[in-house]
């Protein structure tokens, strides 16, 4: 998966180890072999995306795709989404929201803040796997320059 000829790195912000593993497995199964960098909490994820000074300059020249869980131990995914989408250096980065809630108000809020895709983690595994595979297709689309 490349963008403008550069390899896209997938940043996965997910505190649940099991979820992270399942997401990774399904992404791989969908034929996407980009590097996945996992983060289990918001602080370290922001440190990576925006830099420890939160200026966003760390993101210059990098092509990231952010998989974001809304329910994190130290902050909400919405906080991260807001920061990423309001920073001039990172606002163009595609953000995929992955969460267990299908609360309408929350979905709307995420799209308002600039989320690109919103995927609910359903309890039925098949639909979850499907959703992740669709995400693989999305990556495939992204791959086309």
């Amino acid at each position: 998966m490349k963008a403008l000829g550069k390899e896209v790195t997938i940043v996965m912000v997910e505190d649940d180890e099991g979820h992270a593993r399942l997401i990774e497995k399904n992404i791989r199964r969908a034929g996407v072999h980009n590097e996945i960098i996992p983060f289990a909490d918001g602080t370290s994820a922001l440190d990576f995306i925006l830099g420890t000074d939160r200026s966003g300059e760390a993101a210059i020249g990098r092509y990231l795709l952010i998989l974001l869980d809304l329910n994190l131990p130290d902050m909400t995914g919405i906080d991260i989404l807001e920061r990423v989408k309001t920073n001039p250096h990172t606002k163009h980065l595609p953000v995929v929201i992955l969460t267990t809630t299908d609360d309408e108000a929350e979905i709307k809020r995420c799209y308002d803040l600039g989320a690109n895709v919103y995927i609910t983690k359903p309890v039925e595994y098949e639909s979850f796997a499907n959703a992740i595979r669709q995400l693989g297709l999305f990556f495939a689309v992204l791959q086309v320059p």
Partner: protein, 498 residues
């Protein structure tokens, strides 16, 4: 209300007293004036008696004068005053009888003697006049010379004088009586006036007091009413807050329970997937097994199956932990509170002692400054809240400096106290000041073990006590958690019941 009732009773008693006084006054005045009237009538009667007596004497003297004039001159003109006097004497005699009859007793005797004397005297005059009229002047003079007339006349004068003197004595007595009556009347009037003034005055005072009491009652009612409105508003706010909390709680719980469920379902499916290459190998039943089959089966048995099982196990354990935590919070909310006298200083020292060992290792210090009297509250709740805050302070101490922990308590109004637990630890960023109190939520770098239950638990127990917990914190500098606790839990429980 009782004051008003008492006042009404007092006013009624006063009015009754006033009416009684008035009746007594009117009665005695009437009685005195009747007595006074009687005395006055008696006085008039005495005066009539006196006049009749002196007139009678004058009439007798007139008769004598006429007799003498006629005897000397034989001029019939002198008979005229005699005749007139004679008629008057008869009239006055009966008048005297009438007035004397009122005076019981002695009157009849005196009157009888007087009648005899008058008759004697008039008889003598008549006989001289008859003799003179017949021309026998000498015989007439002889009758006069006999000298019977003078003692009779003297006696009459004495008798009438006595009557007059007696009447005078009675008159003066009557005057004295009347004077006394007047004095009584005056005294009664003055006393009555003073009494009426006193009654009216105290009625006025009572009325004023009653009005004041009424106004005070009205004020109190208004105050109670506005207090009621405030209380209703407060309750409504509490209810709305509780409702929001319940919704938030339900959201968190379902969300957090769903996360391990996603894992269980996901890895169950992975188990299924991993089972296929294993079955292809183990249940080949004579069919040819390729190299790929063998490699896939080995991979499934060595990696996929154990991984899936481990995740399923950890997820079920996590779910169990979450359910236990929810149960704990729910149990704490339902626990019967036991109000008892609790010395905050002892509790603070106990909490500090429990972390003394950890503090000693890092060179930290605890400062306790309790400036409130012992509370009446639930000991276990306050113990848990304080212990939790102190544990947190130690747990999230800044690695750059030794912990300075301060536990302070100061009064906050008459019914509340503020217990502050201040540290110079890593602090909590502004955005998370509310979040830290939510169930399963934590703030800052996740480098310490914990499930995000502590502060949620503290908030639950503090709210159960009718209190609240607030937080002041600057990220990187330290945090101050403040427990706002009611001084007397019994009063809180009372208002909750009513």
């Amino acid at each position: 209300m009782q004051t008003i009732n008492r006042n009404i009773k007092q006013t009624a008693i006063l009015l009754l007293l006033g009416a009684t006084l008035l009746a007594i006054l009117a009665g005695s005045s009437t009685f005195i004036s009747f007595r006074s009237d009687a005395a006055f009538e008696r006085t008039i009667a005495e005066r009539q008696l006196r006049r009749s007596a002196s007139d009678l004497l004058a009439a007798l003297q007139d008769a004598e004068t006429g007799q003498r004039g006629y005897l000397i001159t034989l001029d019939p003109a002198f008979l005229e005053p005699y005749q007139g006097a004679r008629t008057r004497i008869l009239e006055l005699r009966s008048a005297l009888e009438q007035w004397l009859q009122d005076d019981a007793g002695r009157g009849a005797d005196v009157l009888a003697e007087l009648d005899a004397l008058i008759e004697l005297r008039l008889g003598l005059i008549e006989s001289t006049l008859e003799a003179a009229g017949a021309g026998d002047v000498a015989a007439a003079r002889a009758i006069v010379a006999q000298g019977q007339g003078k003692p009779a006349m003297d006696r009459i004068r004495d008798l009438l004088g006595e009557i007059i003197a007696a009447s005078d004595v009675r008159t003066s007595t009557l005057v004295q009586v009347q004077g006394r009556m007047n004095l009584w009347l005056k005294t009664a009037s003055i006393l009555g006036g003073v009494a009426m003034l006193a009654v009216v005055g105290s009625a006025f005072v009572l009325l004023a007091r009653q009005l004041r009491a009424l106004r005070a009652a009205e004020d109190q009612l208004r105050r109670l009413n506005s207090g009621l409105e405030g209380r209703v508003r407060q309750r409504t706010e509490d209810l709305m807050r509780a409702n929001q909390e319940v919704q938030r709680f339900a959201y968190i719980v379902t969300h957090d329970l769903r996360a391990p469920l996603v894992n269980i379902m996901g890895f169950t499916s992975e188990l299924e997937t991993a089972l296929k290459p294993l079955q292809a190998y183990v249940l080949a039943d004579g069919e040819t097994v390729t190299e790929d089959n063998i490699r896939d089966a080995r991979l499934a048995a060595a990696e996929d199956l154990p991984e899936a099982l481990a995740f399923i196990r950890s997820s079920t354990r996590k779910m169990d932990g979450l359910i236990n935590a929810i149960l704990k919070i729910s149990r704490d909310g339902r626990r019967e509170l036991k109000p008892e006298t609790v010395d905050l200083k002892a509790l603070a020292e106990q909490a500090a002692a429990s972390v003394a060992h950890q503090l000693g290792e890092t060179g930290g210090e605890v400062e306790i400054d309790i400036r409130v009297r012992p509370l009446v509250t639930d000991r276990l709740s306050v113990e848990q809240a304080l212990g939790n805050l102190v544990d947190n302070a130690v747990k999230y101490a800044s690695p750059d400096r030794p912990l300075q922990l301060r536990i302070r308590a100061v009064p906050d109004g008459p019914r509340m106290v503020r217990v502050e637990v201040e540290d110079n630890g890593r602090g909590i960023s502004e955005a998370d000041h509310e979040r830290v109190f939510e169930l399963f939520r934590r703030s800052g770098t996740q480098d310490r073990p914990g499930e995000g239950i502590g502060l949620a638990h503290v908030r639950t127990v503090v709210r159960n006590l009718g209190g609240e917990i607030t937080l002041r914190s600057v990220h990187g500098q330290g945090s101050t958690f403040t427990l706002h606790l009611p001084v007397d839990l019994r009063a809180v429980l009372e208002t909750v019941r009513t």
